[in-house]
Structures are given as structure tokens and as C-alpha cells.
């Protein structure tokens, strides 16, 4: 794993939050029956993954604020910008198609997974344009 202590803290926090996200999505899928009424219990279960996502963004913001290497910080910001552009572009575009054409619905749930895939795309774009993807994981 990377020797940079800030990056290591970021990665561990991110992994823990990611596990929390997956676990809370699994729990919600298990506990909430199909076509359930939007009761308080359902809303609380559904809110947990959202809290984990807020944690991801907080963790990324903390990394940006504490990173002293300006080049690596720029790469991290670029990664997040690409992820946001890809996620909003796909969801916004598909949402518009949904309004006017009969196409399969894209559940809002998939915004987060698409954004995560966008981070990987941002990493690859950084490698192509700047020779390195950013903070290395291992």
C-alpha cells in the first residue's frame, strides 16, 4: 500500500465507508419488501447508504484540504470532476430521453455506482493526459 500517510488514511476510510455502503444496501434490500409503503422504517433503511455517500465526499474533501502535493491534489480533483461530469451527463441525458421516449427507466439508485465508475474513468484519463492516474492504491 502507498507510503503516504494521508493517502493511506483516505484509502482506509474510503474502504470502511464502501463496506458500510454495500452492507447498508444489502440490508435495505433484505429488509424492505418489494412495493413497500414509504414508512419511517423504510426511509431510515434507505438513508444509510446516502450517509455513506456523504462520508465519501467528506473523506475526499478532507484529502484535498490536507494534501500538500499540489500536482497529486490536482489529479484527485480532476478525477472527481470527470466522475461528476460522466454521472450527471449520463443520468441527465437518459432522464431527458425517459421524458419523451418509451425507454427502460434508470433508477436514481444507479447515480452513485455510475459516479464510482466515473472515478475509474477519471483515473485512466489522468494516466493518459498526465502520465499518472493520481494517488496510487498499492
Amino acid at each position: 500500500m502507498t507510503k503516504n500517510p494521508l493517502m493511506r488514511r483516505f484509502i482506509w476510510t474510503h474502504l470502511i465507508l464502501s463496506l458500510g455502503y454495500v452492507a447498508s444496501v444489502a440490508l435495505a434490500s433484505w429488509f424492505i419488501p418489494d412495493d413497500a409503503e414509504p414508512s419511517l422504517t423504510v426511509i431510515i433503511f434507505a438513508a444509510f447508504p446516502g450517509v455513506m455517500v456523504v462520508g465519501w465526499i467528506w473523506n475526499m474533501g478532507r484529502l484535498y484540504l490536507t494534501m500538500e502535493d499540489e500536482f497529486l491534489r490536482m489529479l484527485e480533483v480532476r478525477k472527481a470532476m470527470w466522475a461528476t461530469a460522466i454521472a450527471l451527463g449520463i443520468c441527465g441525458g437518459w432522464g431527458l430521453i425517459e421524458l419523451f421516449a418509451s425507454v427502460p427507466r434508470l433508477p436514481v439508485f444507479f447515480v452513485v455506482p455510475i459516479w464510482c465508475l466515473g472515478l475509474i474513468a477519471g483515473h485512466l484519463i489522468n494516466r493518459f493526459t498526465h502520465g499518472t492516474g493520481g494517488g496510487s492504491l498499492w
Binding site: 500538500e68 502535493d69 499540489e70 500536482f71 497529486l72 493526459t129 502520465g131
Partner: protein, 63 residues
């Protein structure tokens, strides 16, 4: 922006990792600056100038 980082580094027989350690940045940063993929901020440019004991304009120049 062009720079003479690679030449100056070679004159002192420093590796990219050596220079990165002196500057307190990553080796990737030094590599990106050398290859012209990244223009450093003014504080980092001053640090580079200090490490080489030169003026900024002796290291960096406009394209």
C-alpha cells in the same frame, strides 16, 4: 512553459526521487513538471529555484 529541470538535475546527478525529496513533493510531480505536463504554482517554482540556487527565470521560460 518550458523548463530546464532535467538538465539541472542531471548536472547535479540527482534522480527524480532525490529532487522530489528535496522539494517535499512526489516523484510523479517532478516527472510531470519535467515533461511539461504540469506547470508548478509560484510557491513550488520558488522552492525549485531555491533547491537549485537559481532565479526562477533561469529555470522556467515561456514557450
Amino acid at each position: 512553459m518550458k523548463n530546464r529541470l532535467k538538465v539541472l538535475r542531471a548536472e547535479r546527478d540527482w534522480s527524480q526521487a532525490d529532487l522530489a525529496e528535496r522539494l517535499g513533493v512526489s516523484r510523479q510531480s517532478v516527472n510531470a513538471i519535467e515533461k511539461g505536463r504540469y506547470d508548478p504554482s509560484l510557491p513550488l517554482a520558488f522552492s525549485i529555484a531555491e533547491v537549485f540556487d537559481l532565479a526562477i527565470e533561469e529555470i522556467f521560460s515561456r514557450d
